[in-house]
Amino acid sequence: MTTFRTATAPGGGQPAGGPATQAPPAPSPRRRGLSRRGRKRAVTVLHRFLLVVALLYFIAPFVWMVVYSVFPAHDLQRENPRLDPGDLTLSSYRRLLGQSSFLKPMLTSAMVGLLTTLICLALGSIAAYGLARLRFRGKQVLLLAMMSTQAIPVIVLAVPLFIVIRTLGLFDTPAALIITYTAFILPLVVWMMVGFFEDIPLSLEKAARIDGCGRWQILWRIAAPLAAPGLAATGVFAFITAWSDFFLAKILTASNATTLPVRTASFQGLFANDYTSAATAGVITTLPVMLLALAAQRWIVRGLTEGAVKG
């Protein structure tokens, strides 16, 4: 009996045995489709396309904000907005950056962000190192308890915080914000730093011990330098959080310690919106945060995920 080899796709059922009689290859319905490589490529293209769509979706508001900051508002508020490159201007940036009413909040935000970051890193790295290296009962519970503070909505704490800050005589001062932000950010800093410290090989620390280093020396001379990328990423995270806060700054300050996000929001007035100033202030507020986030993205993600499973 002559058995014809039926045309099958790779991996398809092929009759066993029988002479290998050559028959003209019949077109397979699956062959008419894409090959495995083609399909892979198609999936890749689709993935990339979806990523581009998602990217456009997320950056569109920022792009529009930039556009609003560099084109005259009256050109944009038409039924068909006019984007004439000849109309491009940086005048709103010059105007805002020349006003003390804008520069002061900017400096306040920078100072509050930097000091909060430094305090969080100093305290957080010590705590995180202890949690990463010391063995004691309830370590895991302590770490989780610290993180559980993050589950309390800030808004619920607004009034108690206000009373505490007022009682301390710190209302409307940068110190009020630094203390408050540190309280909120520190647990996250510890959480992130634990992961980074645990990544450092124990053998290095053992060697340091043999050489006579104490715990503190190991922390500052061995662990901290080795965890420097983690410290940087955690610092960026702390700074971004402090820099971007709006709600607490609104509640705990009035006119003396206004921060940049609060000042930016003030361009939306009761009877008028100063769209150009709002957009310009928005870009100035967002840009440093975006750049920092991009620079430290990999480490921030790693810190947040690794801290969760180690300790």
Binding site: Q77, E79, P153, I155, V156, L157, A158, V159, P160, F162, I163, R166, T167, G169, F171, F247, K250, I251, A254, S255, V262, A265, S266, Q268, G269, L270, F271, A272, N273
Partner: protein, 446 residues
């Protein structure tokens, strides 16, 4: 008034910021934290008895205002100090959009950092009901204060403050466009039908007969409320049950929807305009022939380079089943219930309603005065002609329905209004759903 189109609300599925702040306040009370809150804390509870004017008042006060007015900072405060001997230790202005949360926090903490705070219809109700504003005796209310303006600083029959300016919406029309369309430029559309008919004639060539600011929560509510009142409807019945989904309410929303979708005389941008100042600009640029807007529309429209005074018509809003009606946007000052110097604070409230301050308010800022006598004063009407229109409008209902649940109900209602405007549901369904939601919200306050 545009503040009313500025509010942003969180999603209704989440606890509102308002309720969260209240919860925070409650936590404090439970924890007894206020006992150790230090020198700025006033006497908790305060006297519930209404405050009457004292024969003598002195010392100092601190005022927290929104940033609507400039005249206080630029001269009124100094003159007040000179005239009364009371020192204004601090006059602070804050962005209206931030003020609610700041005030709620201050009040929850029983803070006396400010003796006088800015208020309006919704806050008078919310903060007054919470016991955070000092009730005033009727003897503290100056003679001739306009009922609508007084309503903005009162709730449930209790007066919690005194108005600093009056505001209501009136109709503005572009006489040049009327003339061009063959309509009598000096004749205001007297009825809703006249208005719709004129708007049809005026629409074309890139110009819309009508435009509104319905692009956010409060804007959508205001625009519906206006037509509801013009149709003889009301927001709530005597028992505070939602009544905006009555036949009159459904008809009102249907008329609004028809302007946009059937008659196509309403600028489609109306659903995107989030601020009355943008509506001011649209009208002043000649892109909308008729608008119903706040007093600030006038100076923008008559400014150099805009329409000019001769091209701006102004009249009362055209009624449907009633002659006219309008919505209120008055603002005022109230006294912090925890203030340590209420007598002096009341002096400030009363001082702001005096004729010299009110004249300055009209002349320098374009708001309506708060007393009937000033509405008729020639020096006032000659400076701001639309004051005469407000005097006429004040003969008809001018309401805002400020209530403790204002923001939550407005949030739900505006969602329904916008959905109906987009043609995704019928006016009846939209309002019935909103009424059910409003009933559930209001029930929490009982």
């Amino acid at each position: 008034m545009a503040h009313h189109s500025q509010h942003t609300q969180s999603s209704h599925s989440l606890p509102s910021r308002r309720s969260a702040l209240a919860l925070g306040g409650g936590l404090i009370a439970a924890a007894g934290l206020t006992a150790c809150s230090g020198g700025s804390t006033g006497t908790a509870g305060t006297s519930a008895s209404p405050l009457a004017p004292a024969s003598s008042a002195g010392g100092s006060i601190r005022i927290l205002d929104d940033n609507t007015n400039k005249i206080f900072q630029s001269g009124v405060v100094a003159q007040f100090e000179k005239d009364t001997g009371i020192k204004v230790e601090k006059y602070e202005q804050a962005n209206f959009n931030d003020l609610h949360d700041r005030l709620a926090t201050l009040f929850s903490a029983q803070d006396s950092s400010y003796d006088v705070v800015m208020t309006w219809a919704a806050w008078s109700a919310e903060f007054g009901r919470a016991g955070w504003l000092q009730p005033l005796d009727r003897s503290a209310v100056p003679q001739g204060v306009l009922p609508a303006a007084l309503d903005a600083v009162s709730y449930g029959g209790t007066v919690y403050g005194l108005p600093k300016f009056a505001s209501a919406q009136t109709m503005f029309w572009n006489k040049n466009l009327f003339d061009k369309a063959g309509l009598a430029p000096d004749t205001a559309p007297a009825t809703w039908d006249d208005f719709v008919s004129a708007a049809k004639e005026l629409t074309g060539g890139g110009v819309y007969g009508y435009a509104a600011d319905m692009g956010n929560t409060d804007g959508a509510y205001q625009n519906f409320l206006r037509v509801l009142l013009l149709n003889g409807g009301t927001m709530y019945d005597a028992d505070n049950k939602p009544a905006f989904n009555s036949d009159k309410g459904v008809d009102a929303l249907d008329r609004l929807v028809r302007l946009l979708r059937t008659d196509k005389v309403m600028s489609p941008s109306s659903l995107q305009i989030t601020n009355s100042s943008d509506l001011n600009t649209l009208f002043a640029n000649g892109k909308a022939a008729i608008v119903f807007n706040w007093p600030a529309q006038y100076p923008v429209a008559v400014a150099q380079g805009a329409l000019g005074a001769s091209a701006v018509g102004n009249g009362i809003l055209p009624g449907i089943t009633v002659k006219s009606a309008s919505i209120d946007g008055s603002e005022g000052f109230a006294i912090n219930a925890f203030s340590q110097n209420k007598a002096a604070a009341l002096k400030w409230l009363q001082y702001v309603t005096t004729a010299p301050v009110q004249r300055e308010m009209v002349q320098k800022e374009g708001w309506f005065p708060v007393t009937t006598s000033l509405l008729q004063e020639k020096t006032v009407t000659s400076h701001l002609p639309i004051v005469s229109t407000y005097l006429q409008e004040s003969r008809y209902p001018i309401k805002r329905f400020g209530a403790p649940w204002y923001s939550d109900v407005v949030q739900q209602l505006s969602t329904g209004i916008t959905t109906a405007m987009l043609g995704r549901t019928t006016p009846k369904k939209a309002l019935d759903t909103a009424a059910d939601q409003a009933s559930a919200i209001i029930a929490k306050y009982k």
